[in-house]
């Protein structure tokens, strides 16, 4: 049995830049040399500019190399890759890479390190301890622990997770459900995908804890169809967990029953909205429901339902294992714990950066992200996905927390930051926000369905230099007011954020 272990990600982001070809080249190269090593397929560490990243286990810990192309493999093997030998691509111990060293990884503690489908790996790295503790506690104490941790929904709305759980726990019903929202549709976000591909058992553990806490025996994970690799890995992980007794009629030999299944979306962005998502699982068009009733009272199939984002549920095992205080001690103000931030787009060092709330936007973009990939000046960043505001450099002192972003007419959403250089045309970005709303509107609210189309047309006039821009801009502002106050959900309600922020902060792009 070979004693050397190599680690190469199977994360879709690594596969997209050639990880599979690197594995093939490694296998050929090793056979030719008559040497052997186990190639463990992990999730990604989230340092995407260094992917494909290859790691080797040595006596003094892991040594990373990257970005590795198949062409580099021969030279790497010659340089002693299998024993951590020196080479131009050698990055040293991965945890010493500044991008990783500066993080506080709680939710992503295992991601990129373990084999995502190995129960042994998961257990050896602290897995199942949260579930064990939850089983030993009264369900109401589990709920209160999550309340005390200060964990807020990581999907975008920032609603306290524990309060949602408490509401569902107090609802009396023969059947309750836990639904995981894995419809991660915001451009610039990929943290949910990374968890599902790199550490899916933590999500399963979090859902089982939620089930025990509120008395739900059945769970659904609604995963978007754009994530075929996440779906495949999560499906295998559910099978692995079920076979080992972590799901089923007696979770870890307790009296609690909990099982779950995956439902695959079908390309509708609006299904990331929780009530549209519930309709979609029920087999209907993904149309938004009016609230009340809250899903915690009448949710999936009319039953009390907890619906949480992947990252919220994946944070729960840590909260239970280490206690509410260990989580709540991190962060600022009412934003407690850590937030997995995703640096994306035209950024030099793009990837996953989990940190306590409170770093400024400038720290994140300039310092941690290293500026643009193109090398040109950063002109704008969009925070929080297609419904998030565009921020100019003058607002880079904004601390990354829910309230600070709200105070500056923005939102942190799911924690994605998309960087644009100085070639960006902000009128086109504003137009796209309207166009996207028109394409993805579920059609229920007239301002969203029709207003977005009219908004796109008016911005087209501005872009083509037709008529008086001041008149057009007044009309756009008016439309945005109507969208904001006349839409049931965030799609229509928040489309004004990117549109109006682009106009407010980059007026020169609208005067032509």
């Amino acid at each position: 049995m070979p004693s050397v272990r190599l680690f190469v990600p199977r994360d879709a982001g690594a596969l997209a830049v050639g990880a599979e070809a690197v594995v093939a080249a490694l296998q050929v190269g090793m056979i030719r040399r008559g040497v052997a090593a186990d190639i463990v397929r992990t999730g990604s560490r989230g340092l995407y500019w260094l992917e494909p990243m290859v790691e080797v286990a040595t006596a003094t810990g892991r040594i990373a190399y990257g970005p590795v192309t198949p062409v580099d493999v021969e030279a790497l093997l010659d340089a002693g890759l299998l024993s951590g030998g020196s080479h131009a691509l050698r990055l040293g111990p991965p945890e010493e890479i500044p991008f990783l060293k500066r993080q506080t990884r709680l939710t992503f503690a295992r991601c990129g390190i373990i084999d995502p489908l190995s129960l042994d790996d998961y257990h050896a790295h602290g897995g199942w301890r949260g579930l064990e503790r939850a089983i030993a506690m009264a369900p109401s104490d589990v709920v209160e622990t999550v309340v005390q941790s200060g964990l807020r929904g990581r999907g975008g709305a920032g609603f306290p997770t524990g309060v949602k759980w408490r509401t569902a726990a107090q609802a009396a019903a023969p059947q309750k459900y836990i639904v995981c929202n894995a419809d991660e549709g915001d451009s610039g976000t990929f943290a949910d995908r990374m968890i599902m591909e790199g550490d899916p058992l933590v999500l399963i553990e979090g859902m089982a804890i939620a089930g025990i806490a509120v008395g739900a025996t059945r769970g659904y994970v609604y995963v978007r169809s754009e994530y075929p690799h996440a779906i495949a890995t999560l499906r295998e992980a559910i099978d692995v967990a079920r076979r080992a007794g972590y799901l089923g009629s007696g979770v870890m030999d307790s009296p609690h029953a909990f099982d779950l299944e995956i439902r695959v979306g079908a390309g509708a962005y609006v299904c990331g909205e929780e009530t549209a998502l519930l309709d979609s699982i029920e087999g209907k068009r993904g149309q938004v429901r009016a609230k009340p009733p809250l899903p915690a009272h009448r949710g999936l199939f009319g039953s009390p339902t907890v619906i949480n984002n992947v990252l919220s549920l994946a944070a729960v095992p840590f909260v239970l294992a280490e206690g509410a205080a260990a989580y709540a001690v991190l962060g600022v103000g009412r934003s407690r714990g850590t937030v997995p931030i995703q640096l994306a787009g035209n950024v030099k060092q793009g990837g996953l950066f989990e940190t306590a709330f409170g770093l400024t936007l400038g720290d994140l973009v300039d310092d941690i992200g290293g500026g643009t990939a193109s090398g040109r000046p950063v002109r704008a960043v969009q925070v929080g996905g297609p419904l998030g505001a565009y921020f100019p450099r003058t607002l880079f002192d904004t601390p990354f927390d829910y309230e600070a972003f709200t105070a500056r007419d923005g939102l942190i959403g799911h924690g994605g930051i998309v960087v644009f250089d100085d070639t960006v045309d902000m009128a086109r970005q504003a137009r796209f926000a309207m166009e996207f709303c028109a394409i993805e509107s579920c059609g229920k609210c007239t301002p969203c369905r029709i207003g977005s189309t009219r908004g796109k047309e008016v911005i087209d006039h501005i872009i083509r230099g037709e008529g008086d821009p001041a008149v057009h801009l007044a009309l756009v502002a008016d439309l945005c007011e109507t969208l904001k106050f006349g839409s049931l959900c965030a799609l229509g309600g928040f489309t004004p954020y990117p549109v109006m922020s682009a106009i407010r902060h980059f007026p020169e792009d609208f005067d032509r």
Binding site: A12, G13, L15, A16, V17, Y48, W49, E51, E184, G185, D186, S187, G188, T189, F190, D192, R193, S225, E226, Y227, P228, H229, A230, R263, V264, G265, A266, G267, A268, Y269, S280, I281, E282, G283, K284, R285, G286, F301, Q342, A344, G345, N346, V347, G350, G351, A373, Q382, P386, G416, V418, V419, F420, D421, V424, Q429, F432, F436, I439, E440, C442
Partner: protein, 157 residues
């Protein structure tokens, strides 16, 4: 990409019967039909409606609501190009224009040789390696103009 089967009512009936036991079975059944036949054939709509005790209009409403469900067969390969902001910031719009020109198609259209169907996608979650695409389910990151044209050549031969 996985070869699709020609329409066969018995085959469709099997798929529908296997899925109909689940609660909220519409989407799983439609996905299974599309995986088998490459699209959701018109003939299947009344069968699904019948099995799930829905009207044909309701099933059609679901099929037409979701961008994924095709009502006509795709080409031999499906190229999904990401059109969302992170890919825009890295030149995604230019690549999209290039793909459309090279294939002489618009969005959701198939090239005349039936080789490639071009579909827009709003985010593949590969936003730190933009611009990105999904070719028959395989992800591609850091896409360049040269790589795109080479890929299209490959798909069309």
């Amino acid at each position: 990409m996985a070869a699709t089967e020609p329409w066969q009512a018995e085959r469709a009936a099997e798929i529908i019967a296997a899925g109909a036991r689940e609660k909220g079975a519409t989407l799983p059944i439609l996905h299974a039909l599309q995986a088998t036949f490459g699209h959701v054939p018109q003939e299947a709509i009344p069968m699904v409606a019948d099995a799930l005790n829905l009207t044909r209009a309701e099933v059609h409403g679901v099929v037409s609501f979701y961008h994924d469900f095709r009502q006509a067969p795709a080409g031999r390969h499906v190229l999904k190009l990401c059109r969302a902001e992170a890919c825009q910031s890295m030149g995604g719009d230019a690549l999209a224009a290039q793909a459309q020109a090279a294939l002489a198609v618009g969005w959701r259209e198939t090239s005349a040789d039936h080789a490639v169907t071009l579909e827009p996608v709003y985010c593949l979650g590969l936003c730190a390696t933009a611009p990105t695409a999904l070719v028959d389910g395989q992800p591609i990151g850091r896409l360049t103009s040269a790589r795109l044209l080479a890929l299209l050549d490959e798909l069309r031969t």
